[in-house]
Symmetry: C2
Subunit: 136 residues, 2 copies
Amino acid sequence: MDSTERLKEKGIRPSHQRIRIYETLASTKAHPSAEAIYKELSEELPTLSRTTVYSTLDLFAEKGLAQRLALSGSELRYDADISRHVHFRCRGCGSVSDLAAVRAPAPPEAQEGYVVESSQFYAEGLCPACSSRLDP
Amino acid sequence: MDSTERLKEKGIRPSHQRIRIYETLASTKAHPSAEAIYKELSEELPTLSRTTVYSTLDLFAEKGLAQRLALSGSELRYDADISRHVHFRCRGCGSVSDLAAVRAPAPPEAQEGYVVESSQFYAEGLCPACSSRLDP
């Protein structure tokens, strides 16, 4: 399925800017912030505003086309991989990666009265590069 | 164990400001932000600075005296309950509560080369008050 179809399938009008934002997000494993996506696209799309990037990524998260990740010590990050998986934030270099070998827990069963819409499991520590640098 | 002993046990010099910050955090289930703790203490401790509150809470998190919680759409929150438990953020009112009935998963086993120091599992959705208000 191409990006246009993917946006339509989620009920999102596929404007050119939205398509390029989605493609940029989907092309990387770096879990970029809105600011990083804006910087990557601002030369190609000179009329693109920061506000549009922020609101578009939030729209994607709301419609289930991307995950919004809150991790300590960093701005919000986004991920076009909407499968359930575990994220890892390195406190050395700030990078965010997938812990692919670890199985993510199922969303919690809600307690009485709570409506659970999403869940996140993430770990923090040192990535391979930083752990060998800091603790050889 | 009183607060002074608890700080000492974790290797933190128990200044009066640090003790009061710890006691304020430990007295609530609201998972306050640094700003909220500053506001609560600023009248009682007129020489207390925002910077001190922020750095003290980060020191507590580093030394294992508190948990630092990153949850989407909100500033960092802190919790003096360092037991493993699941947090819930309501997108209606922004409150952060414990999902006491849900068991938190164990920290992930690290992949080769990664050093896992902490992990968080949290859910988002609507709390009982907001879910009955928005969807009666």
